[in-house]
């Protein structure tokens, strides 16, 4: 019991020492440790650096400075809940946990507390139905979009016909990895390809048997829903069995530099989806000059411009735009979480605005509405060039097959609404 009193005193001290709530508080539930740190670190760096850039260049958003509270989750749901509870009292405006498991945990909590969540390209796909998930947003795209974009790309490659082909799905055996299965099953029925499912258990270092099966069955294409250390192991294993890399497509969480560099030249030609184009944007130069050179870089500053860094920065940009929107709608600068939610729901990202922000063409154009929290759902396909060490965008943004996805979203969100006694409607 003595231990508890000590901890209590330490906690009370920490809470009393917290500064007053006069600024815009953005929690960053990051993970820089554990088997998923390779992905969590650059995302968090990009996320924080962009807000630091806004602070340094514009004095925050609408004149209010941004305060970031970082909390390490280690991709662990228990720590994620602890981080949420520790930060929500500080006036947190928006949560981005970068973990599907933590998202599932936080959806009911954040909804009850009235704090918006933005789960960009991860989390619960059916949150795209804003009438059921009032406080959860997953624009610009979700997992089912990713599955459909990948299949549409393959359709394009094969002259519009996938019948008789086999596609193997190598997935992380968790909520994250299982999300696309239902969509892929629907698509396989629609387009006549055979779908093989190969689960890889957390953390994903052991994949020999899965790739042995791929070697035996020789599928035409392999899709991968991987994250963390699983990706680099998969790319290495694919290289080991001599699977043609150009027929191996990862989703947008399985296509960063650190996933392919360990396999060296053998990874050349590996493809992945991406929800944002990665080129040398002017805004990266500003971050370098105003944040990194001023010594305020998040992390060690080595990730500037990498795939997941750009995605973290993109997420921060969308959050900042939503906050600016909220300030405009409500006419106050010190916005509340509920106002930020309104700002997110009225978000309209145009090509002109992206160019103005120094990130021309970083993502698709999309507008959010009460009914649609999911954005346009577009994604592009990029390919790894091992010799130059860069990801080369192969296509422009590809649209998903909404005819397949929309009924699935309606079905899954209706099930959630029934289960948790929600009457769908706009706030």
């Amino acid at each position: 019991m003595k231990m508890k009193t000590l901890a209590a005193m330490a906690l009370a001290g920490a809470m009393a020492a917290g500064p007053a709530m006069a600024e815009l508080v953005i929690p960053d539930l990051s993970y820089r440790t554990g088997p998923y740190a390779a992905g969590g670190t650059p995302f968090s760096d990009g996320y924080q650096d962009y807000f630091n850039l806004l602070n340094a260049r514009d004095g925050g958003i609408g004149g209010e400075s941004v305060r970031i509270i970082e909390c390490e989750t280690g991709y662990n749901t228990e720590k994620g809940v602890e981080c949420y509870e520790a930060t929500k009292g500080e006036g947190a405006l928006i949560y981005q946990p970068l973990s599907t498991g933590i998202t599932y945990q936080l959806i009911p909590k954040a909804t009850a507390d009235g704090i918006p969540m933005h789960t960009m390209g991860y989390g619960r796909t059916s949150a795209a139905n804003g009438e059921v998930f009032n406080w959860v947003f997953n624009y610009p795209a979700n997992y089912w979009d990713a599955a459909s974009v990948a299949v549409n790309y393959l359709l394009d490659e094969n002259g519009g016909d996938l019948s008789g082909k086999t596609i193997a799905l190598v997935y992380h055996n968790s909520a994250y990895g299982k999300e696309p299965i239902r969509t892929l099953e629907e698509l396989s029925a629609k387009h006549g390809f055979t779908l093989t499912q190969l689960a890889v258990d957390h953390p994903g270092q052991e994949q020999k048997s899965q790739w042995l099966q791929i070697r035996r069955e020789r599928p035409d294409y392999v899709l991968m829903w991987g994250w963390g250390v699983m990706n680099q192991v998969a790319v290495q294993e694919a290289a080991n069995i001599g699977f043609p890399m150009e027929n191996f497509i990862g989703n947008w969480w399985a296509g960063a530099e650190h996933d392919v560099t360990p396999a060296g030249m053998a990874a050349n030609g590996y493809k992945s989806l991406n929800m944002n184009r990665v080129v040398d944007y002017p805004v990266l130069g500003e971050i370098k000059a105003l944040v990194h050179d001023a010594g305020n870089a998040a992390g060690d500053g080595s990730n500037l411009g990498s795939v997941l860094y750009v995605r973290g920065m993109y997420a921060a940009m969308l959050a900042a735009e939503a906050i600016a929107n909220a300030q405009e709608i409500h006419g106050v600068t010190a916005v509340t979480p509920a106002m930020v939610r309104d700002g997110m729901e009225a978000l309209d990202i145009t090509a002109a605005r992206m160019a103005e922000l120094g990130m021309d063409g970083i993502g698709p154009e999309f507008a959010v509405s009460c009914e649609n929290h999911g954005g346009s759902g577009q994604g592009l396909v990029q390919q790894w060039n091992a010799a130059d060490g860069i990801w080369v965008p192969l296509t422009d943004f590809i649209a998903p097959d909404d005819g397949v996805i929309d009924p699935l979203i309606a079905e899954d969100s209706a099930a959630f609404a029934a289960e948790s006694n929600i009457t769908p409607g706009c706030l």
Binding site: R32, T33, E82, E85, A86, S174, R182
Partner: protein
């Protein structure tokens, strides 16, 4: 001076064989219960509940369960995570199949189902012991996690394989789901912990507990003096799994609200609870509490000190946390192999003689 048996006259057999023979211990016990039931619910907030107290209460139930098996009956088990998963999934299936039945009944039934599963996996203990039994229970751990991942019926065919706790009420107050208040969450776990701890304490003081300890100390000798090893070992597995099942059900329904079996109930959970039992003290109910408190509160306290007070980078603190917790585990095992409970026992011995030690 005040902590001693002298002067406390027992006039009945009940008084003579009560749990706390020293008057001061009895007052302390009632004082802790009073604080836990009458003070904390009024001051608790969401952070305290979710970060410290609710996990502490739930892990305390789990470590009491494991302590019965490992500490009292001497059967090493690495299947705790798997058995917690059985409790969680049983609770989920019951909650969604019979929404009108009280959640309290569901949690108890989930404990009962886990007891059956635990007994089935305890059968090998009749033939094998020590490390070999640990490996057999390890198989249970992996099998159960695989099962809940593989068979979609367990998660009601949801797209993601996640299970979500629907809202359920006790006396009209929500205790699961998003609208649960911190005191409700805390009190429901506290009631279960009190019930489990009283049950465990009294079981271990009676015939059943003595037969477990006889088996632990020397199984052949116990068999010769008439202890039935089949009965003793299987009851230990059943009772232990009952508690662990309750802990798993509460962990899912009250604490987290949504779980994914591989992440929440993996092998690391088995080790965590085993560490709690070892650090707290094998064969001690108090030790289960102390071990759970140590391993739940220490990481949070380190984080608060490192990140919030000293302002260090979060990744550095997370890594230091592993180093410090690991170091402390080693330190305790070397300095006090019988765990925190032994330190407590020594302190009480000293207190008896204070202020005139000889």
């Amino acid at each position: 001076m005040f902590y001693r048996e002298a002067g406390d006259f027992k006039t009945s057999y009940e008084a003579d064989s009560q749990t706390f023979p020293i008057a001061f211990d009895r007052w302390r016990y009632w004082a802790i219960l009073a604080v836990a039931y009458l003070v904390i619910p009024f001051v608790i907030n969401d952070y305290w509940a979710s970060a410290l107290l609710v996990p502490f209460l739930i892990y305390a139930i789990a470590s009491i369960g494991l302590n019965i098996l490992v500490g009292y009956c001497g059967q090493v088990s690495l299947g705790t995570g798997g058995f917690m998963a059985v409790g969680a999934y049983a609770c989920y299936k019951l909650m969604t199949s019979f929404p009108d039945v009280s959640i309290v009944v569901h949690v108890l039934l989930a404990g009962g189902i886990t007891a059956m599963v635990g007994t089935a996996f305890g059968l090998p203990s009749l033939r094998i012991k020590g490390f070999y039994l640990a490996v057999a229970t390890l198989a249970a751990q992996f099998f159960l996690v695989w099962l809940f991942n593989k068979v979609a019926w367990f998660y009601n065919y949801s797209a993601s394989g996640q299970i979500n706790a629907p809202e359920r009420f006790v006396f009209g107050v929500p205790v699961t789901g998003a609208n649960t208040s911190a005191p409700a969450q805390y009190l429901v776990c506290l009631v279960f912990l009190t019930f489990c701890a009283l049950l465990a304490r009294n079981l271990t003081r009676g015939t059943v507990g003595r037969s477990w300890m006889a088996i632990r100390d020397m199984d052949i000798a116990a068999e010769i003096i008439g202890v039935n090893p089949l009965k003793a070992k299987l009851t230990a597995f059943a009772v232990s799994s009952f508690f662990i099942g309750i802990a798993g059900a509460l962990f899912f329904s009250v604490y987290l609200g949504a779980v994914e079996v591989g992440e929440a109930f993996g092998i690391q959970k088995s080790f965590l609870v085993l560490f709690m039992v070892i650090i707290g003290g094998l064969g001690s109910i108090f030790g289960s509490f102390a071990g759970a408190a140590f391993l739940v509160i220490l990481p949070v306290a380190l984080k608060v000190v490192g990140v919030d007070l000293l302002g260090w980078p979060t990744d550095l603190v997370a890594h230091l946390q592993l180093v410090i917790v690991g170091g402390l585990i080693m330190f305790f095992l070397i300095k006090e192999p019988h765990g925190l409970a032994q330190l407590w026992r020594l302190a009480k011995e000293k207190l008896r003689l204070w202020p005139f030690p000889y």
